[in-house]
Subunit: 198 residues, 2 copies
């Protein structure tokens, strides 16, 4: 329907997550009329990000260096390791400023339906990090959904034989939420995990 | 919060229309893990589209040639000219297969609030196209909103002195819609423009 390269652009944009055919069209038309320098900048940063962004050789976090900022930081506690699914989880946890330890980024979660088993994740690479006894606690901070829970269960079993404390993030009511809107699983967990009132 | 170039990518993506901060993040993370060849293809098509896509020298439609497909097509009726705001309107009208004439793409609509007056649009370029008397009808197919109506009104006045019929697209109830859900302006127009039943 569109002139060749315009249709190519719409097709490429439509492959991005959350960009449907209508949005792809809208973005393409915007780009057609945009300043060529702006479009060039987007194209350049796309290429640059693939050239420069690597994964940290220790924790597999996103990094522009051989080792990521957190692994390079001597102030981070080497005795606590937080296992997350993705880079974005690292960013979310860093934002809380609650966690001072280090990370291990799995690169996803176990999901048989998507063909992702333990071998497709950075699970094997976790064991050498626990070998010298520096790490005393592993916090499993996978997503509180089916895949995340399956991954945490798998890791819990795997780490059972090691001399390391394994913990999970607390489940419960989200702060600022309404009790009546909580789903029954969350509400059930909030009951099961109740604390003594101060 | 993110490693330098990742944040740059999120920023650039966030400038696209309809892409909020959350979507920009989501797309950026997708691209981080995507096949470098796929990302390269998107970057290439972005550059290509700005290099190859020009605007037709006659009607200002999007075109990879000096003149667009429609202006080059001798089967298109040169006596009817349809004035639209944007390239996407050309595509929408072409899809109906109802219109066999030619186009004039204004490049937007009059919108004082956005600083767009007649001089920012391809309005001046419309007059020479009507000079030799080939065109007998100009169909104003601007959007049925405030800016589109203002633009149509402006053009109607401008063309009044010329020997050319000026028409507007019909307003009324959308086909397949429910009368009760039509807004009052649309319903009012549908009454005003009522046809005799066959």
């Amino acid at each position: 329907m569109y002139e060749g390269v315009v249709q190519d652009l719409i097709d490429e944009l439509g492959r991005l997550p959350g960009v449907g055919p209508k949005s792809a069209q809208r973005i393409a038309f915007h780009l057609l009329q945009a300043d060529p320098a702006d479009v060039r900048r987007l194209a350049d940063v796309l290429i640059e990000v693939k050239q420069r962004v690597k994964f940290c050789s220790i924790c597999f976090n996103v990094s522009e260096e051989e080792q990521c900022r957190i692994c390079r930081d001597p102030r981070r506690d080497p005795t606590v390791l937080c296992v997350v699914e993705e880079y974005k989880d690292v960013v979310a946890i860093e934002r809380t400023r609650e966690f001072k330890g280090r990370y291990h980024v799995l690169g996803g979660a176990i999901s048989p339906i998507d063909g992702i088993g333990p071998d497709q994740l950075r699970i094997r690479e976790l064991l050498p990090r626990l070998a010298d006894g520096t790490v005393v606690e592993v916090i499993l901070a996978t997503d509180p959904n089916l895949e995340g829970e399956a991954t945490a269960t798998y890791l819990t079993r795997m780490l059972r034989t090691l001399e390391v404390r394994v913990s999970r993030l607390a489940s419960g009511l989200p702060v600022g939420g309404d009790l009546e809107y909580a789903d029954e699983v969350t509400l059930g967990r909030a009951f099961a995990g109740r604390r003594s009132a101060e």
